[in-house]
Symmetry: C2
Subunit: 257 residues, 2 copies
């Protein structure tokens, strides 16, 4: 068995036409699969409507108790269930999951160092209930995972969706071949940010160092690629960064260990 772990974020979630196309293609994707989704702008929109100003430090949302309630409502509730209902209508037997459900992802509340991020959780590498996921997948169920986890002591935690995807991919590689696909707004990792077609087809540790030295790969792409290399080291067979528009096409940037 091979499992594809596909991650989508705000660039798909916040655009109904893109989301429709993506979900239609995801439903068609053959073989065992897991969808991991971020939150998009929905939580900020709801906060605003409720008169709550999101707290940010260094561009990261601080999750106080009220914000945790809002992200739990929007990610695990509204968004997750809309995705599940849509996939069900496309013949895909989706099962929405937070990390608390069936103890699927156990996380630790991030310790306070210089910044107190509040109710933010970092998943444990050994915190994935692989047997539940494997059993579900074997019966044709497609897990659809939001970025909410729990600490096992009754506390829900807000978690980065990229990290959920790589944690699940690494853990499932103990029971299956796993492909990890990060879908985003560009066609892949670009060598020239102003040219959407300048996709780097392959990143390996050698050219990665060179691209970083030459400042071709910078900023937000570095943690994504560091994550990808770590996933490969921990047993994931293949990591791809691709446009959410091209799920079924052989396309994007492949990362090789």
């Amino acid at each position: 068995m091979k499992i594809s772990v596909i991650k989508i974020g705000g660039n798909v979630i916040d655009h109904p036409e893109k989301l429709e196309k993506f979900l239609t293609e995801f439903a068609k994707l053959e073989g065992a699969k897991i969808l991991v989704h971020g939150g998009g702008k929905i939580a900020s929109g709801l906060s605003k409507q409720m008169g709550i100003t999101p707290k940010m430090v260094d561009g990261r949302r601080i999750t106080d108790a009220q914000t945790l309630d809002i992200v739990t409502m929007t990610y695990a509730g509204l968004l997750n269930k809309k995705l599940v209902a849509k996939l069900q209508s496309l013949g895909c037997n989706a099962l929405g999951l937070s990390g608390a459900d069936a103890g699927v992802i156990h996380a630790d509340k991030r310790p306070v160092k210089t910044v107190d991020y509040g109710f933010v959780g970092d998943p444990r590498d050994d915190g994935v209930n692989t047997s539940f996921l494997a059993t579900a997948i074997k019966t044709g169920v497609v897990p659809v995972m939001c970025a909410i986890t729990h600490d096992g002591e009754g506390q829900l935690l807000n978690t980065n969706a990229d990290t959920i995807a790589s944690t699940v991919a690494k853990a499932m590689s103990s029971v299956s071949d796993v492909d990890l696909v990060y879908c985003f707004e560009k066609k892949g990792v670009l060598s020239d940010p102003s040219d959407d077609d300048s996709v780097i087809e392959l990143v390996n540790p050698e050219n990665y160092t060179a691209y970083k030295d030459k400042k071709v790969i910078t900023d937000g792409m570095i943690p994504k690629l560091d994550n990808a290399f770590e996933a490969l080291e921990k047993g994931v067979s293949r990591v791809v960064i691709r446009s959410s528009n091209d799920l079924l096409e052989p396309s994007g940037t492949e990362i090789l260990a």
Copy 2:
């Protein structure tokens, strides 16, 4: 295998101490079990905070698109995940489910007659994915079901939690013995509403007719009991109406066909 289907409503959900006690006892309840929960006051509170006035006709909430989003957020998101995280901390392997998840409950949007209830769903008697639930239960998983369903065509629907409980109980009786327990604020069906200890221990079709004729059983209790008798006719082994405070005690009113 025997499965206990336990339903709780606002009287437990809206009171943190009662909820804590109930969940602790539910976690201890032996054997296979399913929890079905209503929504309590949380959706109305959120609507108010967002400046939306809930629309009511004949005491029933009208579910327009905005209200559907709110109940999906609060029931399937916030409340369901809080219950699941708490149960996980009590050693109960809870799995939160809306009716869309794994196609667990297929419903039909209620047809418009004199009143348009909006996005309200009536579950199909043959709309329960009993094999998914049975497989999950066999592996020790405890389904925790909120009162949101779907129509199989991508539409989420707001559904009565009592109806979810009886629909699931009836469907699961095709694969197992099923007890259905409605937990509410009183100790059972009372013969004297002013005396909390006047519990009618047994209701059967004969005394039910007599109690109704004498106006001992009236109003909101009648649909609950009609539901109970229907569940017994459709294969449920035992129906009990009991205080949420006495889950583990032999107590309350037993309904016998």
